[in-house]
Protein backbone atom coordinates (compact mmCIF):
# COMPACT_ATOMS: atom_id res chain seq x y z
CA UNK A 1 0.00 0.00 0.00
CA UNK A 2 1.38 3.39 -0.89
CA UNK A 3 0.84 6.48 1.16
CA UNK A 4 -0.79 8.23 -1.72
CA UNK A 5 -3.65 5.78 -1.73
CA UNK A 6 -4.72 6.38 1.84
CA UNK A 7 -6.34 9.40 3.33
CA UNK A 8 -4.40 10.77 6.28
CA UNK A 9 -5.94 8.96 9.23
CA UNK A 10 -6.69 11.05 12.31
CA UNK A 11 -4.53 10.10 15.28
CA UNK A 12 -6.70 7.79 17.33
CA UNK A 13 -4.47 7.09 20.26
CA UNK A 14 -4.78 9.49 23.20
CA UNK A 15 -1.00 9.39 23.52
CA UNK A 16 -0.66 10.96 20.08
CA UNK A 17 1.88 13.77 20.15
CA UNK A 18 0.49 17.17 19.24
CA UNK A 19 2.84 17.74 16.33
CA UNK A 20 1.72 15.70 13.35
CA UNK A 21 2.40 17.94 10.36
CA UNK A 22 1.68 15.46 7.58
CA UNK A 23 4.39 15.19 4.94
CA UNK A 24 1.96 15.38 2.09
CA UNK A 25 3.23 17.81 -0.46
CA UNK A 26 1.48 15.70 -3.08
CA UNK A 27 -2.11 16.60 -2.28
CA UNK A 28 -2.64 18.84 -5.28
CA UNK A 29 -0.34 16.94 -7.62
CA UNK A 30 -3.05 14.82 -9.30
CA UNK A 31 -5.09 17.92 -10.10
CA UNK A 32 -2.12 19.65 -11.71
CA UNK A 33 -1.44 16.54 -13.76
CA UNK A 34 -5.04 16.28 -14.87
CA UNK A 35 -5.73 19.94 -15.46
CA UNK A 36 -4.32 20.58 -18.96
CA UNK A 37 -5.60 17.38 -20.57
CA UNK A 38 -9.00 17.47 -18.98
CA UNK A 39 -9.35 21.16 -19.75
CA UNK A 40 -8.59 20.31 -23.38
CA UNK A 41 -11.34 17.70 -23.44
CA UNK A 42 -13.81 20.02 -21.72
CA UNK A 43 -13.09 22.87 -24.14
CA UNK A 44 -12.87 20.87 -27.36
CA UNK A 45 -15.08 17.87 -26.69
CA UNK A 46 -17.75 18.75 -24.11
CA UNK A 47 -18.22 22.42 -24.95
CA UNK A 48 -18.74 21.67 -28.67
CA UNK A 49 -21.45 19.19 -27.68
CA UNK A 50 -23.20 21.97 -25.77
CA UNK A 51 -22.89 24.31 -28.75
CA UNK A 52 -24.24 21.63 -31.00
CA UNK A 53 -27.18 21.01 -28.69
CA UNK A 54 -27.96 24.70 -28.73
CA UNK A 55 -27.56 24.95 -32.53
CA UNK A 56 -30.00 22.10 -33.01
CA UNK A 57 -32.84 24.13 -31.45
CA UNK A 58 -32.07 27.36 -33.29
CA UNK A 59 -33.92 28.79 -36.24
CA UNK A 60 -32.85 31.37 -38.74
CA UNK A 61 -30.77 31.51 -41.86
CA UNK A 62 -27.19 32.07 -42.80
CA UNK A 63 -27.92 35.62 -43.92
CA UNK A 64 -29.93 36.76 -40.92
CA UNK A 65 -28.12 34.75 -38.28
CA UNK A 66 -29.47 32.10 -35.94
CA UNK A 67 -31.35 32.40 -32.68
CA UNK A 68 -32.25 29.89 -29.98
CA UNK A 69 -35.99 29.39 -30.30
CA UNK A 70 -36.26 25.91 -28.71
CA UNK A 71 -37.47 24.72 -32.04
CA UNK A 72 -37.58 21.00 -31.25
CA UNK A 73 -39.50 20.31 -34.44
CA UNK A 74 -36.13 20.25 -36.20
CA UNK A 75 -35.51 16.88 -34.54
CA UNK A 76 -38.78 15.46 -35.73
CA UNK A 77 -38.31 16.82 -39.25
CA UNK A 78 -34.76 15.48 -39.44
CA UNK A 79 -35.82 12.05 -38.18
CA UNK A 80 -38.73 11.70 -40.56
CA UNK A 81 -36.79 13.03 -43.53
CA UNK A 82 -33.74 10.88 -42.99
CA UNK A 83 -35.15 7.73 -41.36
CA UNK A 84 -33.92 5.48 -44.22
CA UNK A 85 -30.37 6.75 -43.86
CA UNK A 86 -30.46 6.19 -40.09
CA UNK A 87 -31.75 2.67 -40.57
CA UNK A 88 -29.17 1.98 -43.26
CA UNK A 89 -26.37 3.17 -40.97
CA UNK A 90 -27.39 0.78 -38.22
CA UNK A 91 -27.95 -2.16 -40.57
CA UNK A 92 -24.71 -1.68 -42.52
CA UNK A 93 -22.70 -1.17 -39.35
CA UNK A 94 -24.26 -4.22 -37.69
CA UNK A 95 -23.59 -6.36 -40.77
CA UNK A 96 -20.00 -5.14 -40.94
CA UNK A 97 -19.54 -5.85 -37.22
CA UNK A 98 -20.81 -9.42 -37.53
CA UNK A 99 -18.60 -9.99 -40.58
CA UNK A 100 -15.61 -8.55 -38.74
CA UNK A 101 -16.21 -10.91 -35.83
CA UNK A 102 -16.57 -13.94 -38.12
CA UNK A 103 -13.50 -13.06 -40.17
CA UNK A 104 -11.42 -11.61 -37.35
CA UNK A 105 -11.83 -14.39 -34.80
CA UNK A 106 -9.95 -17.07 -36.78
CA UNK A 107 -7.17 -14.61 -37.53
CA UNK A 108 -6.85 -13.56 -33.88
CA UNK A 109 -6.94 -17.23 -32.83
CA UNK A 110 -4.29 -18.06 -35.41
CA UNK A 111 -1.97 -15.34 -34.11
CA UNK A 112 -2.57 -16.21 -30.45
CA UNK A 113 -2.26 -20.02 -30.56
CA UNK A 114 -1.14 -21.39 -33.90
CA UNK A 115 1.31 -18.92 -35.42
CA UNK A 116 4.40 -20.00 -33.49
CA UNK A 117 7.43 -18.13 -34.73
CA UNK A 118 5.37 -16.38 -37.41
CA UNK A 119 3.38 -14.54 -34.75
CA UNK A 120 5.32 -11.27 -34.89
CA UNK A 121 5.34 -11.20 -38.67
CA UNK A 122 1.57 -11.69 -38.88
CA UNK A 123 1.07 -8.97 -36.27
CA UNK A 124 3.14 -6.61 -38.40
CA UNK A 125 1.09 -7.50 -41.47
CA UNK A 126 -2.15 -6.76 -39.59
CA UNK A 127 -0.94 -3.36 -38.42
CA UNK A 128 1.17 -2.25 -41.37
CA UNK A 129 -1.71 -1.45 -43.77
CA UNK A 130 -2.59 1.37 -41.36
CA UNK A 131 0.40 3.25 -42.68
CA UNK A 132 -1.07 3.45 -46.15
CA UNK A 133 -3.81 6.05 -45.88
CA UNK A 134 -7.18 4.30 -45.47
CA UNK A 135 -8.59 6.42 -48.28
CA UNK A 136 -6.04 5.05 -50.75
CA UNK A 137 -6.81 1.51 -49.62
CA UNK A 138 -10.55 2.11 -49.89
CA UNK A 139 -10.05 3.39 -53.42
CA UNK A 140 -8.26 0.13 -54.21
CA UNK A 141 -11.56 -1.64 -53.59
CA UNK A 142 -12.92 0.27 -56.60
CA UNK A 143 -10.40 -1.65 -58.67
CA UNK A 144 -11.03 -4.97 -56.95
CA UNK A 145 -14.81 -4.71 -57.30
CA UNK A 146 -14.70 -3.06 -60.73
CA UNK A 147 -17.48 -3.91 -63.17
CA UNK A 148 -16.33 -6.71 -65.42
CA UNK A 149 -13.25 -7.28 -63.26
CA UNK A 150 -12.07 -10.82 -62.45
CA UNK A 151 -13.80 -10.93 -59.03
CA UNK A 152 -17.19 -9.77 -60.28
CA UNK A 153 -16.82 -12.06 -63.27
CA UNK A 154 -16.18 -15.04 -61.01
CA UNK A 155 -19.12 -14.17 -58.75
CA UNK A 156 -21.31 -13.86 -61.82
CA UNK A 157 -20.26 -17.23 -63.19
CA UNK A 158 -20.90 -18.87 -59.82
CA UNK A 159 -24.36 -17.22 -59.75
CA UNK A 160 -23.54 -15.64 -56.42
CA UNK A 161 -24.69 -12.30 -57.75
CA UNK A 162 -28.09 -13.79 -58.58
CA UNK A 163 -28.54 -14.68 -54.92
CA UNK A 164 -27.24 -11.37 -53.59
CA UNK A 165 -29.26 -9.53 -56.20
CA UNK A 166 -32.38 -11.35 -55.10
CA UNK A 167 -31.59 -10.34 -51.49
CA UNK A 168 -31.22 -6.73 -52.59
CA UNK A 169 -27.53 -6.53 -51.72
CA UNK A 170 -26.36 -6.11 -55.30
CA UNK A 171 -27.95 -4.81 -58.49
CA UNK A 172 -27.65 -6.61 -61.81
CA UNK A 173 -24.10 -7.74 -62.54
CA UNK A 174 -22.56 -4.92 -60.53
CA UNK A 175 -21.08 -5.03 -57.05
CA UNK A 176 -19.76 -1.49 -57.00
CA UNK A 177 -22.32 1.14 -55.96
CA UNK A 178 -24.39 -1.46 -54.06
CA UNK A 179 -24.93 -2.14 -50.34
CA UNK A 180 -22.63 -5.16 -50.58
CA UNK A 181 -19.71 -2.97 -51.66
CA UNK A 182 -20.31 -0.54 -48.80
CA UNK A 183 -20.51 -3.31 -46.17
CA UNK A 184 -17.46 -4.93 -47.71
CA UNK A 185 -15.54 -1.66 -47.41
CA UNK A 186 -16.71 -1.07 -43.83
CA UNK A 187 -15.70 -4.60 -42.87
CA UNK A 188 -12.31 -4.13 -44.45
CA UNK A 189 -11.69 -0.77 -42.81
CA UNK A 190 -12.57 -1.79 -39.27
CA UNK A 191 -11.32 -5.39 -39.26
CA UNK A 192 -8.03 -4.57 -37.45
CA UNK A 193 -10.05 -2.90 -34.67
CA UNK A 194 -11.74 -6.27 -34.15
CA UNK A 195 -8.64 -8.43 -34.51
CA UNK A 196 -6.41 -6.53 -32.09
CA UNK A 197 -8.65 -6.59 -28.96
CA UNK A 198 -9.62 -10.20 -29.75
CA UNK A 199 -5.96 -11.12 -29.95
CA UNK A 200 -5.19 -9.33 -26.68
CA UNK A 201 -7.81 -11.28 -24.76
CA UNK A 202 -7.06 -14.61 -26.47
CA UNK A 203 -3.37 -14.23 -25.79
CA UNK A 204 -4.03 -14.01 -22.06
CA UNK A 205 -5.63 -17.46 -22.04
CA UNK A 206 -3.31 -20.12 -20.69
CA UNK A 207 -2.97 -22.82 -23.40
CA UNK A 208 -3.01 -25.40 -20.60
CA UNK A 209 -6.71 -24.60 -20.17
CA UNK A 210 -7.26 -26.16 -23.59
CA UNK A 211 -5.36 -29.26 -22.50
CA UNK A 212 -7.26 -29.38 -19.20
CA UNK A 213 -10.56 -29.12 -21.05
CA UNK A 214 -9.52 -31.88 -23.45
CA UNK A 215 -8.38 -33.97 -20.50
CA UNK A 216 -11.86 -33.56 -19.02
CA UNK A 217 -13.54 -35.14 -22.06
CA UNK A 218 -14.38 -31.95 -24.03
CA UNK A 219 -14.09 -32.23 -27.80
CA UNK A 220 -12.25 -29.34 -29.50
CA UNK A 221 -15.54 -27.72 -30.50
CA UNK A 222 -16.85 -28.03 -26.94
CA UNK A 223 -13.60 -26.61 -25.58
CA UNK A 224 -14.05 -23.63 -27.85
CA UNK A 225 -17.65 -23.08 -26.82
CA UNK A 226 -17.19 -23.65 -23.10
CA UNK A 227 -13.67 -22.34 -22.43
CA UNK A 228 -12.03 -20.28 -25.16
CA UNK A 229 -14.95 -18.17 -26.31
CA UNK A 230 -16.23 -17.22 -22.82
CA UNK A 231 -12.71 -16.22 -21.79
CA UNK A 232 -12.33 -14.05 -24.88
CA UNK A 233 -15.55 -12.12 -24.13
CA UNK A 234 -13.76 -8.89 -23.10
CA UNK A 235 -12.10 -8.87 -26.52
CA UNK A 236 -15.38 -9.62 -28.28
CA UNK A 237 -17.10 -6.76 -26.46
CA UNK A 238 -14.45 -4.12 -27.08
CA UNK A 239 -13.92 -5.36 -30.62
CA UNK A 240 -17.59 -5.06 -31.53
CA UNK A 241 -17.76 -1.59 -29.97
CA UNK A 242 -14.61 -0.41 -31.76
CA UNK A 243 -16.10 -1.67 -35.02
CA UNK A 244 -19.74 -0.75 -34.68
CA UNK A 245 -19.37 2.80 -33.38
CA UNK A 246 -17.11 4.21 -36.07
CA UNK A 247 -18.91 2.20 -38.77
CA UNK A 248 -22.24 3.83 -37.88
CA UNK A 249 -20.84 7.31 -38.33
CA UNK A 250 -18.73 6.54 -41.38
CA UNK A 251 -19.48 8.20 -44.69
CA UNK A 252 -16.29 7.53 -46.61
CA UNK A 253 -17.17 3.98 -47.69
CA UNK A 254 -20.72 4.90 -48.61
CA UNK A 255 -19.41 7.79 -50.67
CA UNK A 256 -16.52 6.05 -52.46
CA UNK A 257 -18.00 2.57 -52.94
CA UNK A 258 -21.74 3.26 -52.81
CA UNK A 259 -24.33 5.24 -54.67
CA UNK A 260 -27.09 7.69 -53.74
CA UNK A 261 -29.11 4.65 -52.65
CA UNK A 262 -26.56 3.65 -50.03
CA UNK A 263 -26.20 7.00 -48.29
CA UNK A 264 -25.74 6.67 -44.57
CA UNK A 265 -26.46 9.22 -41.85
CA UNK A 266 -22.83 10.35 -41.91
CA UNK A 267 -23.26 11.38 -45.54
CA UNK A 268 -26.32 13.40 -44.62
CA UNK A 269 -24.60 15.18 -41.74
CA UNK A 270 -21.61 15.95 -43.91
CA UNK A 271 -23.73 17.31 -46.75
CA UNK A 272 -25.97 19.38 -44.49
CA UNK A 273 -23.00 20.85 -42.68
CA UNK A 274 -20.51 21.43 -45.47
CA UNK A 275 -22.67 21.87 -48.57
CA UNK A 276 -26.29 22.81 -47.71
CA UNK A 277 -25.16 24.79 -44.63
CA UNK A 278 -28.37 23.90 -42.77
CA UNK A 279 -26.71 23.91 -39.37
CA UNK A 280 -29.74 23.20 -37.14
CA UNK A 281 -30.73 20.09 -39.10
CA UNK A 282 -27.14 18.83 -39.23
CA UNK A 283 -26.72 19.43 -35.48
CA UNK A 284 -29.98 17.65 -34.70
CA UNK A 285 -28.99 14.65 -36.84
CA UNK A 286 -25.60 14.47 -35.21
CA UNK A 287 -27.21 14.70 -31.77
CA UNK A 288 -29.67 11.91 -32.54
CA UNK A 289 -26.83 9.72 -33.80
CA UNK A 290 -24.82 10.37 -30.65
CA UNK A 291 -27.77 9.65 -28.34
CA UNK A 292 -28.64 6.46 -30.25
CA UNK A 293 -25.08 5.19 -30.07
CA UNK A 294 -24.64 6.00 -26.39
CA UNK A 295 -27.91 4.21 -25.66
CA UNK A 296 -26.95 1.12 -27.65
CA UNK A 297 -23.47 1.03 -26.17
CA UNK A 298 -24.76 1.33 -22.60
CA UNK A 299 -27.30 -1.43 -23.08
CA UNK A 300 -24.72 -3.64 -24.78
CA UNK A 301 -22.13 -3.14 -22.05
CA UNK A 302 -24.69 -3.83 -19.33
CA UNK A 303 -25.86 -6.96 -21.11
CA UNK A 304 -22.41 -8.37 -21.71
CA UNK A 305 -21.32 -7.57 -18.18
CA UNK A 306 -18.04 -5.89 -19.01
CA UNK A 307 -17.98 -2.56 -17.27
CA UNK A 308 -14.34 -1.59 -17.37
CA UNK A 309 -13.40 -0.71 -20.90
CA UNK A 310 -10.92 2.06 -20.30
Amino acid sequence: MTTTLTEAPPPLSPTAPERTPPRRRGRLTPYWLLLPGILWLVLFFLLPMVYQASTSVQTGSLEQGYEVTWHFATYWDALSAYAPQFLRSVVYAAAATVLCLLLGYPLAYLIAFRAGRWRNLIMVLVIAPFFTSFLIRTLAWKTILADGGPLVGALNTLHVLDVTGWLGWTAGDRVLATPLAVVCGLTYNFLPFMVLPLYTSLERIDPRLHEASGDLYARPSTTFRKVTFPLSMPGVVSGTLLTFIPATGDYVNADLLGSTDTRMVGNVIQTQFLRVLDYPTAAALSFILMAAILLMVTVYIRRSGTEDLV
Binding site: T4, L33, W40, P48, A128, F131
Partner: protein, 266 residues
Protein backbone atom coordinates in the same frame (compact mmCIF):
# COMPACT_ATOMS: atom_id res chain seq x y z
CA UNK B 1 -10.20 -39.08 -45.79
CA UNK B 2 -6.72 -37.98 -44.77
CA UNK B 3 -7.31 -34.71 -46.59
CA UNK B 4 -10.54 -34.21 -44.65
CA UNK B 5 -8.78 -34.74 -41.31
CA UNK B 6 -6.02 -32.38 -42.35
CA UNK B 7 -8.58 -29.77 -43.37
CA UNK B 8 -10.38 -30.14 -40.08
CA UNK B 9 -7.20 -29.72 -38.07
CA UNK B 10 -6.08 -26.66 -39.98
CA UNK B 11 -9.45 -25.03 -40.60
CA UNK B 12 -8.67 -22.19 -38.19
CA UNK B 13 -5.31 -21.56 -39.80
CA UNK B 14 -6.82 -21.49 -43.30
CA UNK B 15 -9.63 -19.15 -42.26
CA UNK B 16 -7.17 -16.88 -40.48
CA UNK B 17 -4.88 -16.71 -43.50
CA UNK B 18 -7.86 -15.93 -45.75
CA UNK B 19 -8.74 -13.00 -43.49
CA UNK B 20 -5.12 -11.88 -43.62
CA UNK B 21 -5.34 -12.02 -47.40
CA UNK B 22 -8.50 -9.91 -47.32
CA UNK B 23 -6.62 -7.37 -45.17
CA UNK B 24 -3.60 -7.24 -47.47
CA UNK B 25 -5.29 -7.44 -50.88
CA UNK B 26 -5.86 -3.65 -51.17
CA UNK B 27 -2.20 -3.02 -50.36
CA UNK B 28 -1.19 -5.37 -53.15
CA UNK B 29 -3.48 -3.50 -55.54
CA UNK B 30 -2.11 -0.14 -54.37
CA UNK B 31 1.44 -1.35 -54.97
CA UNK B 32 0.73 -2.86 -58.38
CA UNK B 33 -1.14 0.21 -59.55
CA UNK B 34 1.72 2.47 -58.50
CA UNK B 35 3.41 1.08 -61.64
CA UNK B 36 0.41 1.70 -63.88
CA UNK B 37 0.18 4.17 -66.69
CA UNK B 38 -3.50 4.96 -66.64
CA UNK B 39 -5.59 6.15 -69.51
CA UNK B 40 -7.59 9.21 -68.49
CA UNK B 41 -7.74 10.77 -65.08
CA UNK B 42 -8.52 7.73 -62.92
CA UNK B 43 -6.11 5.00 -61.92
CA UNK B 44 -8.59 2.14 -61.51
CA UNK B 45 -7.83 -0.01 -64.57
CA UNK B 46 -4.56 -1.64 -65.49
CA UNK B 47 -2.99 -0.38 -68.73
CA UNK B 48 0.79 -0.44 -69.07
CA UNK B 49 3.73 -0.89 -66.77
CA UNK B 50 5.51 2.36 -66.03
CA UNK B 51 7.82 3.58 -63.29
CA UNK B 52 7.23 7.23 -64.14
CA UNK B 53 5.35 8.00 -60.93
CA UNK B 54 8.14 6.54 -58.82
CA UNK B 55 10.66 8.77 -60.56
CA UNK B 56 8.64 11.88 -59.83
CA UNK B 57 6.53 11.34 -56.69
CA UNK B 58 5.94 15.08 -56.22
CA UNK B 59 4.99 15.58 -59.84
CA UNK B 60 1.38 16.39 -59.00
CA UNK B 61 0.52 19.89 -57.84
CA UNK B 62 -0.07 20.21 -54.06
CA UNK B 63 0.50 16.50 -53.35
CA UNK B 64 3.77 16.79 -51.47
CA UNK B 65 2.63 20.02 -49.85
CA UNK B 66 -0.35 18.18 -48.37
CA UNK B 67 1.94 15.36 -47.26
CA UNK B 68 4.22 17.83 -45.50
CA UNK B 69 1.24 19.48 -43.81
CA UNK B 70 -0.05 16.08 -42.60
CA UNK B 71 3.35 15.13 -41.21
CA UNK B 72 3.64 18.48 -39.49
CA UNK B 73 0.19 18.23 -37.90
CA UNK B 74 0.80 14.60 -36.90
CA UNK B 75 4.09 15.56 -35.25
CA UNK B 76 2.65 18.33 -33.12
CA UNK B 77 -0.55 16.44 -32.35
CA UNK B 78 1.52 13.45 -31.21
CA UNK B 79 3.66 15.64 -29.02
CA UNK B 80 0.68 17.42 -27.46
CA UNK B 81 -1.46 14.34 -26.94
CA UNK B 82 1.45 12.31 -25.55
CA UNK B 83 2.44 14.92 -22.99
CA UNK B 84 -1.13 15.61 -21.84
CA UNK B 85 -2.15 11.94 -21.97
CA UNK B 86 0.87 10.74 -20.03
CA UNK B 87 0.15 13.25 -17.28
CA UNK B 88 -3.46 12.08 -17.04
CA UNK B 89 -2.43 8.42 -17.02
CA UNK B 90 -0.04 9.00 -14.13
CA UNK B 91 -2.66 10.90 -12.17
CA UNK B 92 -5.21 8.11 -12.72
CA UNK B 93 -2.90 5.29 -11.65
CA UNK B 94 -0.92 6.94 -8.90
CA UNK B 95 -3.36 9.17 -7.06
CA UNK B 96 -6.73 8.99 -5.48
CA UNK B 97 -8.87 12.05 -5.99
CA UNK B 98 -12.39 13.30 -6.35
CA UNK B 99 -14.38 12.96 -9.58
CA UNK B 100 -12.38 9.96 -10.68
CA UNK B 101 -15.42 8.28 -12.23
CA UNK B 102 -16.44 11.41 -14.10
CA UNK B 103 -12.94 11.81 -15.50
CA UNK B 104 -12.81 8.18 -16.63
CA UNK B 105 -16.12 8.65 -18.45
CA UNK B 106 -14.90 11.87 -20.04
CA UNK B 107 -11.88 9.96 -21.33
CA UNK B 108 -13.97 7.07 -22.62
CA UNK B 109 -16.54 9.20 -24.47
CA UNK B 110 -14.32 10.43 -27.33
CA UNK B 111 -13.49 6.81 -28.11
CA UNK B 112 -17.18 5.85 -28.05
CA UNK B 113 -18.27 8.70 -30.32
CA UNK B 114 -18.58 8.48 -34.10
CA UNK B 115 -16.04 10.79 -35.66
CA UNK B 116 -18.66 12.64 -37.63
CA UNK B 117 -20.39 13.73 -34.39
CA UNK B 118 -17.16 15.13 -32.93
CA UNK B 119 -16.32 16.71 -36.27
CA UNK B 120 -19.68 18.43 -36.58
CA UNK B 121 -19.79 19.68 -33.00
CA UNK B 122 -16.24 21.04 -33.14
CA UNK B 123 -17.11 22.90 -36.32
CA UNK B 124 -20.14 24.35 -34.54
CA UNK B 125 -17.86 25.60 -31.76
CA UNK B 126 -15.32 27.09 -34.14
CA UNK B 127 -18.03 28.80 -36.21
CA UNK B 128 -19.61 30.25 -33.09
CA UNK B 129 -16.25 31.46 -31.84
CA UNK B 130 -15.49 32.99 -35.20
CA UNK B 131 -12.23 31.01 -35.31
CA UNK B 132 -10.33 30.86 -38.60
CA UNK B 133 -10.31 27.27 -39.80
CA UNK B 134 -6.91 25.89 -40.75
CA UNK B 135 -3.76 24.41 -39.26
CA UNK B 136 -4.57 25.37 -35.66
CA UNK B 137 -8.17 24.14 -35.61
CA UNK B 138 -7.05 20.80 -37.10
CA UNK B 139 -4.25 20.52 -34.54
CA UNK B 140 -6.64 21.23 -31.67
CA UNK B 141 -9.04 18.58 -32.94
CA UNK B 142 -6.30 15.97 -33.42
CA UNK B 143 -4.88 16.43 -29.92
CA UNK B 144 -8.43 16.07 -28.59
CA UNK B 145 -9.21 12.72 -30.20
CA UNK B 146 -5.71 11.24 -29.75
CA UNK B 147 -5.63 12.06 -26.04
CA UNK B 148 -7.82 9.17 -24.81
CA UNK B 149 -5.87 6.60 -26.82
CA UNK B 150 -2.58 7.78 -25.33
CA UNK B 151 -4.06 7.63 -21.81
CA UNK B 152 -5.18 4.04 -22.37
CA UNK B 153 -1.78 2.91 -23.65
CA UNK B 154 0.27 4.65 -20.94
CA UNK B 155 -2.11 3.64 -18.16
CA UNK B 156 -1.75 -0.05 -18.97
CA UNK B 157 2.02 0.20 -18.69
CA UNK B 158 2.11 2.31 -15.51
CA UNK B 159 -0.41 0.02 -13.85
CA UNK B 160 1.77 -3.03 -14.37
CA UNK B 161 4.76 -1.26 -12.84
CA UNK B 162 5.90 -2.40 -9.39
CA UNK B 163 5.55 0.56 -6.97
CA UNK B 164 8.49 -0.85 -5.04
CA UNK B 165 10.82 0.22 -7.84
CA UNK B 166 10.12 3.85 -7.07
CA UNK B 167 10.39 3.20 -3.35
CA UNK B 168 13.75 1.54 -3.96
CA UNK B 169 14.91 4.64 -5.86
CA UNK B 170 13.82 6.86 -2.97
CA UNK B 171 15.56 4.55 -0.56
CA UNK B 172 18.73 4.96 -2.65
CA UNK B 173 18.85 8.75 -2.24
CA UNK B 174 16.87 9.77 -5.34
CA UNK B 175 14.55 12.70 -4.61
CA UNK B 176 11.08 12.85 -6.21
CA UNK B 177 12.35 14.46 -9.41
CA UNK B 178 15.33 12.12 -9.76
CA UNK B 179 13.07 9.14 -9.09
CA UNK B 180 10.75 10.21 -11.87
CA UNK B 181 13.57 10.91 -14.32
CA UNK B 182 15.74 7.87 -13.63
CA UNK B 183 13.22 5.15 -12.82
CA UNK B 184 9.58 5.98 -13.51
CA UNK B 185 10.03 7.51 -16.95
CA UNK B 186 12.40 4.88 -18.39
CA UNK B 187 10.16 2.07 -17.22
CA UNK B 188 6.99 3.73 -18.52
CA UNK B 189 8.72 4.57 -21.82
CA UNK B 190 7.43 1.60 -23.87
CA UNK B 191 3.84 2.53 -22.97
CA UNK B 192 4.45 6.17 -23.80
CA UNK B 193 6.07 5.18 -27.11
CA UNK B 194 3.13 2.93 -27.97
CA UNK B 195 0.72 5.77 -27.18
CA UNK B 196 2.72 8.21 -29.28
CA UNK B 197 2.88 5.83 -32.24
CA UNK B 198 -0.87 5.30 -32.05
CA UNK B 199 -1.47 9.05 -31.87
CA UNK B 200 0.77 9.63 -34.89
CA UNK B 201 -1.03 7.01 -36.96
CA UNK B 202 -4.48 8.30 -35.94
CA UNK B 203 -3.60 11.89 -36.65
CA UNK B 204 -1.80 11.26 -39.93
CA UNK B 205 -4.62 9.15 -41.34
CA UNK B 206 -7.56 11.16 -40.02
CA UNK B 207 -9.97 12.34 -42.61
CA UNK B 208 -13.47 12.95 -41.22
CA UNK B 209 -12.65 15.37 -38.39
CA UNK B 210 -9.99 17.08 -40.49
CA UNK B 211 -12.33 17.52 -43.44
CA UNK B 212 -14.84 19.38 -41.26
CA UNK B 213 -12.35 21.66 -39.54
CA UNK B 214 -9.56 22.32 -42.01
CA UNK B 215 -11.04 25.26 -43.88
CA UNK B 216 -8.84 25.77 -46.91
CA UNK B 217 -5.89 23.76 -45.56
CA UNK B 218 -5.40 20.45 -47.40
CA UNK B 219 -3.92 17.45 -45.60
CA UNK B 220 -2.81 14.30 -47.41
CA UNK B 221 -6.05 12.34 -46.74
CA UNK B 222 -8.01 15.39 -47.94
CA UNK B 223 -5.90 15.48 -51.09
CA UNK B 224 -6.71 11.81 -51.73
CA UNK B 225 -10.39 12.47 -51.11
CA UNK B 226 -10.37 15.37 -53.51
CA UNK B 227 -8.55 13.34 -56.13
CA UNK B 228 -11.21 10.63 -55.89
CA UNK B 229 -13.63 13.20 -57.30
CA UNK B 230 -11.30 14.95 -59.76
CA UNK B 231 -8.97 12.17 -60.85
CA UNK B 232 -6.50 9.96 -59.00
CA UNK B 233 -2.83 10.49 -59.85
CA UNK B 234 -0.56 7.43 -59.71
CA UNK B 235 1.60 9.32 -57.25
CA UNK B 236 -0.79 8.71 -54.36
CA UNK B 237 -0.25 4.97 -54.84
CA UNK B 238 3.50 5.60 -54.84
CA UNK B 239 3.28 7.40 -51.52
CA UNK B 240 0.91 4.80 -50.04
CA UNK B 241 3.24 1.97 -51.09
CA UNK B 242 6.34 3.75 -49.88
CA UNK B 243 4.83 4.34 -46.44
CA UNK B 244 3.73 0.71 -46.17
CA UNK B 245 7.18 -0.56 -47.11
CA UNK B 246 8.97 1.87 -44.81
CA UNK B 247 6.69 0.91 -41.90
CA UNK B 248 7.21 -2.83 -42.41
CA UNK B 249 10.97 -2.40 -42.79
CA UNK B 250 11.20 -0.23 -39.67
CA UNK B 251 9.27 -2.74 -37.58
CA UNK B 252 11.25 -5.71 -38.91
CA UNK B 253 14.53 -3.90 -38.31
CA UNK B 254 13.62 -3.01 -34.74
CA UNK B 255 12.52 -6.60 -34.13
CA UNK B 256 15.78 -7.98 -35.50
CA UNK B 257 17.74 -5.47 -33.47
CA UNK B 258 15.89 -6.40 -30.29
CA UNK B 259 16.48 -10.10 -30.93
CA UNK B 260 20.18 -9.58 -31.54
CA UNK B 261 20.53 -7.51 -28.38
CA UNK B 262 18.95 -10.14 -26.15
CA UNK B 263 21.07 -12.85 -27.77
CA UNK B 264 24.30 -10.92 -27.29
CA UNK B 265 23.59 -10.25 -23.63
CA UNK B 266 22.42 -13.71 -22.73
Amino acid sequence: MALLTWLKRHLVVLAGLLTLGYLLLPNVIVTVFSFNQPKGRFNYEWQHFSADAWKDPCGVADLCGSLALSLQIAFWATLGATVLGTMIAFALVRYRFRARGAISSLLFLPMAMPEVVMAASLLTLFLNMGARLGFWTVLIAHIMFCLSFVVTAVKARVMSMDPRLEQAAQDLYAGPFQTFLRVTLPIAAPGIAAGALLAFALSFDDFIITNFNAGSAVTFPMFVWGSAQRGTPVQINVIGTAMFVVAVLLVLASMALGRRRTRRKA
